[in-house]
């Protein structure tokens, strides 16, 4: 049995599309069920089980070997830094981590800037690399409210289409990093299922919606 972890939420669609294009068709996947088996699908003769988990929890399950492989946002991986293999990133579902403010330029402050983000470690690392030493405020949702309600001067958050920014009259000051759904594999599982996973990864790499 190979257990594949898939993320609930925005990365589920691109993940399923990429896997289907690579030959692992998960038709009938019920997004309300945590655990489902696909007896008709197999990787070189091994049945496949799918676990639907929250993006932020997936790296832990993979690292611990409960899930053999998964598709997780690279934003979550950068923040949590799990000890897992990362063979490839998917083309579909890409976005960016951006510095967001109410003005097109970075606000001028005599003191230290404050930034709201759901990625305190990664954001601090990226901003420090740009010589921006900001006070990072950890929020878990509606990050754009940070600058809008004057909790912070800026926000660091995922931008996909820019629709949320336009709706709130916010500006994308700078793109800090690219974000992509990433195929990750547990270390022990990689060795145990190397040939099987290699076939799937090769398929993902070759498909239009697959890796880059």
């Amino acid at each position: 049995m190979i257990t594949v972890g898939l993320p609930k939420g925005r990365n589920l669609g691109p993940a399923r599309a990429a896997l289907a294009a690579a030959g692992l068709n998960l038709d009938g996947l019920d997004s309300s069920r945590l655990r489902q088996r696909f007896p008709d699908q197999d990787l070189l003769g091994t049945p496949v089980e799918v676990l639907l988990l929250k993006d932020w929890d997936l790296p832990l399950y993979v690292e611990h070997g409960i899930v053999d492989c998964a598709i997780v946002g690279s934003d979550v991986l950068e923040e949590t830094q799990p000890d897992v293999f990362r063979p490839l990133q998917l083309k579909g579902g890409r976005s960016r981590l951006s510095l967001i403010a109410e003005t097109p330029e970075l606000p001028k402050r005599s003191g230290q800037l404050r930034a709201a983000t759901r990625y305190p470690t990664w954001a601090a690392r990226l901003l420090a690399a740009r010589n921006l030493h900001v006070e990072v405020i950890h929020l878990t949702s509606s990050i754009e409210l940070g600058p809008l309600l004057d909790l912070t001067d800026v926000a660091v958050d995922i931008v996909q289409t820019g629709g949320t920014l336009r709706a709130h009259d916010l500006h994308e000051v700078e793109v800090l990093a690219a974000v992509a759904p990433t195929f990750v594999v547990n270390r022990a599982s990689f060795h145990a299922h190397r040939r099987r996973l290699s076939g799937l990864l090769g398929g993902l790499e070759e498909t239009e919606t697959g890796g880059d």
Partner: protein, 334 residues
Amino acid sequence: MKISAGLPTGVSAALFDSARRRRRLEARLSALLEERGFAEVLLPILDYFEPYRPLLTGRRLEQLYRFVDRDGQLLVLRGDFTPMLARLLAPHLDELELPLRLYYRGDVVRHQPLRPGRMREYSQLGAELLGGDEAEADEQMLTLFFDLLLEARGEAPAVVDGEEHALRVVLGVAGALDEALLAAAGEHEASDLALRIASRDRIAARRAGLAEVVERGYPTDLSVLGGTGEAVFELLALRDRLSSAYRDAAVEIEVDLAEFAAAALDPRIGVGSGPRGYYDGLMFAAYAPGTALALGVGGRYDRVFRSLSGDCSAVGFSFGLDLLLELGAAEARS
């Protein structure tokens, strides 16, 4: 029974059955080591910090718990057995009769991020073979590594509920990809490329002309590895001999150069670079299904002795005893 509540982060106390099980496992493994002619060494939990500056750099040095003693000496808690043993033995190599077979068991402490299955204090059991013919020593120690793994696992079946339950041992050579990495990425980018290949990044590997390394473990044409191709050729022969010897023991042996891609690239980092830092020749790691971490790692570390002005070939390994106990528990569950 294990208790960690009320204790500092990353440590736990083993009571009753947990303590008994660990001691029993230690006893079984120690008996096997004694039978093979290895003598136990008991090393102190405290040491000076200074000797480790040239031995451990980068992450391993940062992981040491260090403090100033009341008499002003900077001390460290034992974070690794091998460098301590090497630094103690290096000045006495002339007086010792080589080859020397030693083993140890005990706790090490490292300040490291808490990850699944990874504590800050954990028990290790390891063995070192100093001196002697290098190729023979490598094979002897790998054989011992396998036998200890099998002893810890007991009589686990190769297939449980239709699932393969083989132990997997990965072999590599530290620095095997260095020439290819430098040719593909240049001096400044080679370390980053090595880390990406160690993470099995297929796109980076393909661009570097090392796709086969992440897909099957090593290139068909070993000449792309430059000067290290010969060492990998010998490693493949060693794999074949060991695979044949352990065919019936449900141990899968594979050569996977990507596993150790980041081990030796940058000589400026010194002997402590990377997750398995001080190895400079043969490297190996063992995995079991359902475990979060490698059960044990090992390799050749002649460079450690050279950096201590000693001239001695050295190969060794260590196991995480708690991980080996999980292996036994998995067997009981199956």
